[in-house]
């Protein structure tokens, strides 16, 4: 399990999603990467409109995600508004959720998924995901994974160089927002960037982006958040 960074791909005007994926595939193959199957990350969200509870009406949401890299696991994240509580369980958890579903006064949000080809370049794993919400194309999320390294801080510069070289954009050297969070490492408060990377961290990043996509009203356009500036038009 190596360090994973998610990077939304900024579209060039007048290009469709399929042409963009084709363009990126060509770039990867010319770099010397080899295609190694495909991947899918999907996300379902159940929102409970806690009407039965006496507390103020805070919308609690349960996000249930699957990642084809971890086919035997179901990831679920309970979003209380203030805090995200992650849970990694066996696949049986899906069946359990069907039963529990009745407890919630549920409002289902549209399911969202990112899928596409995955490539191996040396020890890197690069996945070109087309994000679709209920079948509608929303954008492209590129996942970069450096498998030998487990600490983000150690390989950030190295991954930044790869992403810059591959996408042809400049990326600021400040750490992505996700890795600046506070976390507990063996009982001590520390920054996420020093922590050993885990499967749930990939899922959390996906969720962050999926929520952003859901908030967007326009589908394809320049509204995808990107930290870098395009060098080539």
């Amino acid at each position: 399990m190596g360090v994973t960074i998610l990077q939304p791909y900024l579209f060039q005007e007048g290009k469709g999603g399929i042409t963009a994926i084709e363009y990126l595939t060509k770039r990867l193959i010319s770099m010397g990467a080899k295609q190694a199957g495909s991947f899918i990350v999907d996300c379902e969200t159940i929102v409970s409109l806690s009407s039965s509870m006496p507390q103020p009406p805070s919308n609690k949401a349960v996000h249930i995600l699957h990642n084809s890299e971890f086919p035997a696991s179901t990831f679920s994240i309970l979003d209380t508004g203030a805090k995200h509580i992650p849970l990694v369980a066996d696949n049986l958890f899906d069946l359990l959720m069907i039963k529990i579903g009745n407890v919630y006064t549920q409002k289902k949000q549209p399911s969202i998924e990112s899928k596409g080809p995955r490539f191996e370049y040396g020890d890197f794993l690069i996945k070109l995901g087309s994000v679709t919400m209920n079948g509608n194309f929303k954008g492209i999320l590129i996942e970069f994974e450096y498998r030998p390294c487990i600490v983000f801080l150690n390989c950030w510069e190295l991954m930044r160089e790869l992403i810059q070289g591959f996408l042809g954009i400049s990326i600021s050297s400040t750490y992505p927002q996700f890795f600046q969070q506070q976390t507990l490492i063996s009982g001590h408060q520390s920054l996420k960037q020093n922590d050993s990377f885990q499967a749930i961290d990939t899922i959390n990043q996906y969720l962050e982006h999926f929520i952003n996509y859901r908030k967007q009203t326009t589908s394809i356009g320049g509204s995808t958040q990107i930290t870098g500036l395009p060098l080539r038009s």
Binding site: G122, D123, F124, R147, P148, L158, L162
Partner: protein, 285 residues
Amino acid sequence: MLKTDKINTSLTAIRSLRSSVSQVFEKLSCGDEATLQQQLQDHFNTITTNLRELESAVNTFSATGPFNLGNTSFLAQETSQERQILYSQLVNSYKWIDKIHDHSYLAHNVLTSNNLKRSCISKRGRIPPTISNANSIQHLESILKECTAQHNIICKVTRPFGSNGVIILNIGRVFKAAIICKGLVMEWVTIKGWDESLELEDLWTESRYQVFQKVQDHCHVAMLHFFSTTLPHVAVKCYMTYLHNYNKLFTDVCKKCGKHLSKGLPPTWRDLRNLEPYHEECWNG
């Protein structure tokens, strides 16, 4: 091709022998009495020559089967079921021994021409006393203690192969290394990723990551470089410093090209004198 020729000649020899024998019987049944004796004499001579031809043809065939296994080849004719398996096992082990013999012969040729002689045996045929020192176990551990305290490396010594130690090191949170020692002399290094297991059975397998496979190759080069018969403890100390330098494997940039990546790999080579990082291509180029 040669074999079929041989078979053909021997078959022809058999055929001519049979025909000459049948001619004898033909003459006996309907021959003229006066000349019978003379004719029979001639025929017997032909038979003798034909027989000789056949014998010589048969002798050209080598011993049965591809291997000359001596008396053990009779095992194939064993009647009891249990023992029949022995023959195939015997042939297999013979094949293996044959292969080992070939390989060792080749290895011997290569090693004699190689300059990197690691043998402890000096010209007089004596082993220097430091190598097979009975105190080397404690010695090794005390040296390691010193090195690990200096470099803040987590290290563990196990002895699964009798007195010979296996040192397991954690280099930062970058990789794990196993050094297999013979006394104080390092014999083998295995580099594994942080998430790979490094148990006894994994000591001889390569890491699944390309970067650590490269690092392992470079570590072997360094091991040969630092090797010293007279001062093995210095070699161990130098090597620990060298390995400790790899804790910046992913953060260092190449001294020559100033980049992190070359062909998807970080700078894996370390200059053996000043431990500066280089890409393999940059160093060689």
